[in-house]
């Protein structure tokens, strides 16, 4: 099923909608958002000079750092009373990236999520278990609202508590699971360990995955664990753009269809910032069309991918993005949570008993991400007892948990045992291969 007629328009008509909305968006952001107006003035572009889609490339980029510089709501285009929702995601340092929605924004967002759910095979018959963590993360409430719009019945399970997850899957006849792909694999294996065969014993047949990328080897594993009948697709989004609902895979599994009447994707070379032709690999830049609370023009997502414009067998004419192949910056995705090493560094620098050097190791154990941070102990006073050393460990863990929302492992080592770098430090080792 295809949710909206805009998904199947001829290219010329999609572009006509895009151009019309782009002109309005640029005029709107220029009028309402001072930081972006300043950027446009500095670049010497006036809203009325945007006459074709080609003119998009004349507009300045928006960066994640713009959110930090205008924290919390300096990029918002509406008064507080117009807002009906806030969400937040990781910032590059201590302060989160805060986003806001008007009622129309929420409606647009959740409609786009309904499209994505539809692409993945969901219908109003489905019973959907949302195993994303709720809270300010857009994933859970985004899929929650989108699936409700579709008419599915939603179980707001949230993350963790595997026993309860399994009980609901069994007792409620759940047909659709929303989770990170790694958690879905973990959950599937836990089911099998309990002697439950998902293919025979459960009604689950659809997985809508997000929060982190799903590689093809992960999809193969997914079928091994959940059975061949399990249709698993992934979708893409980020809170700055709205949350999930930017793009998603249809069941043909040939890339994620972009909701192009709401988002204009571009691919650029992250170094030269030059716009690359269709099919070229580079950093995804997205312009949001028609958002009221937080209009964004040419947002640098940091995600590396390519765009494909050939029509899809599913009937949709919207362009497709390939699986995200990596990042243009050093952001890590840990259990679906975005983590910037600078956030970790900020926490560690405030703890006097340890040195300024650190290393981050990311592994996948039992399908779940484990992040170990190695730091150098420098304060000899803690050697009076093990209790003091372990108190330090707990204190570091708690501070990181508060900052990242994630549990981490801490390894204390002797001073000068971590590698010193001249120039750009390589502090992160990611041992996850193909997401497995």
């Amino acid at each position: 099923m295809i949710w909206a007629k805009e998904e199947t328009l001829p290219r010329a008509e999609i572009e006509k909608i895009q151009l019309e909305k782009l002109k309005k968006t640029v005029a709107y952001i220029y009028e309402k958002v001072l930081p972006y107006r300043k950027k446009m003035d500095a670049a010497g572009v006036k809203p009325e000079e945007i006459r074709t889609l080609e003119d998009l490339k004349r507009l300045p980029f928006t960066y994640k750092s713009d959110f930090r510089d205008n924290y919390p709501d300096g990029l918002f285009a509406v008064e507080k009373k117009e807002l009906v929702r806030y969400h937040a995601s990781s910032g590059t340092t201590g302060k989160p990236t805060v986003v806001g929605y008007t009622r129309n924004d929420l409606d647009m967002w959740l409609n786009n999520v309904a499209r994505i759910a539809c692409m993945g095979g969901a219908t109003s018959e489905d019973v959907a278990q949302i195993s994303f963590g709720y809270g300010t993360f857009t994933g859970a409430l985004g899929l929650h609202g989108g699936l409700e719009k579709l008419g599915a019945s939603v179980i707001p399970m949230s993350s963790g508590n595997t026993n309860k997850q399994i009980m609901f899957l069994q007792d409620m006849g759940v047909t659709l699971l929303v989770a990170t792909p790694s958690y879905a694999l973990h959950l599937g294996e836990q089911l099998r360990e309990r002697g439950i065969d998902p293919k025979k014993d459960l009604k689950l047949h659809i997985g809508l995955f997000g929060g982190e990328g799903m590689t093809e080897p992960m999809r193969d594993e997914m079928h091994k664990v959940w059975g061949e009948q399990f249709v698993c697709t992934q979708n893409y989004g980020m809170s700055e753009l709205c949350g999930p609902g930017v793009s998603g895979e249809c069941t043909e599994l040939c890339g994620m269809h972009v909701n192009e009447d709401w988002f204009i994707p571009e691919i650029i070379d992250p170094k030269t910032e030059e716009v690359l032709p269709p099919g070229a690999h580079g950093e995804l830049v997205v312009t949001c069309l028609g958002k009221e609370a937080l209009p964004l023009v040419r947002y640098r997502t940091g995600d590396l991918t390519k765009l494909m414009y050939e029509p899809c067998k599913c009937g949709r004419t919207t362009c497709r993005m390939e699986n995200i192949s990596g990042r243009a910056d050093d952001m890590l995705v840990i259990r679906g949570v975005n983590v910037f090493p600078t956030q970790i560094e900020e926490v560690l620098l405030k703890i006097a008993e340890i040195g300024p050097h650190y290393e981050i190791l990311v592994e996948r154990k039992n399908r779940l991400d484990v992040m170990t941070i190695t730091v150098e102990l420098i304060d000899d006073r803690l050697l009076d007892s093990y209790g003091q050393l372990s108190e330090l460990e707990q204190r570091i863990k708690a501070a990181l948990k508060a900052q990242l929302g994630l549990a981490t492992q801490i390894k204390l080592v002797a001073p000068n045992s971590l590698q010193r770098f001249e120039g750009k430090a390589k502090r992160v080792t990611d041992l996850r291969k193909d997401g497995l």
């Binding site: 000899d380 803690l382 050697l383 080592v413 002797a414 001073p415």
Partner: protein, 138 residues
């Protein structure tokens, strides 16, 4: 008396690196203790010239702490350790850890321990007639 505590990681050779550094500094080790803990450990030593040992090891990149502990000389007779511990228990003193000397030639064995109240422990042991050892009596 004083002991030194050295932070060591759980990996082959980490204790040896400490003893080898002390060897290089020509500092004698009188007693040594470490316990099996995950990830990292605290190596505790009684050495001659603890301040010099700290200085030397710190220069070599170790984290080192010099700390007051109680050293009690026991006659090598049945029940003497028990007697000492009973004195402490009767006073409600909690022993954090205890270890003994490696070699003392012909002298009586010495127990080294750290408690939640070393001053009280020393007084109680003295009262009970147990000989306490000072750094310069090693």
């Amino acid at each position: 008396m004083k002991q030194i505590s050295v932070f060591v990681e759980n990996q082959p050779g980490s204790l040896m690196r400490v003893t080898s550094a002390l060897n290089e500094a020509r500092i004698n080790i009188r007693a040594i203790a470490s316990f099996d803990t995950p990830e990292f450990g605290i190596l505790r030593l009684v050495v001659e010239q603890p301040e010099k040992a700290k200085e030397f090891l710190t220069e070599k990149g170790f984290v080192v702490r010099v700390q007051e502990v109680v050293g009690a000389e026991l006659k090598d007779e049945k029940g003497n350790l028990n007697e000492m511990l009973k004195v402490l228990a009767d006073q409600g003193i909690s022993v954090g850890y205890i270890y003994s000397f490696v070699i003392r030639e012909n002298k009586a064995p010495v127990m080294v321990f750290h408690s939640d109240d070393n001053v009280k422990a020393e007084a109680a042991l003295k009262e009970a007639g147990i000989l306490l050892i000072k750094d310069d009596e090693l």
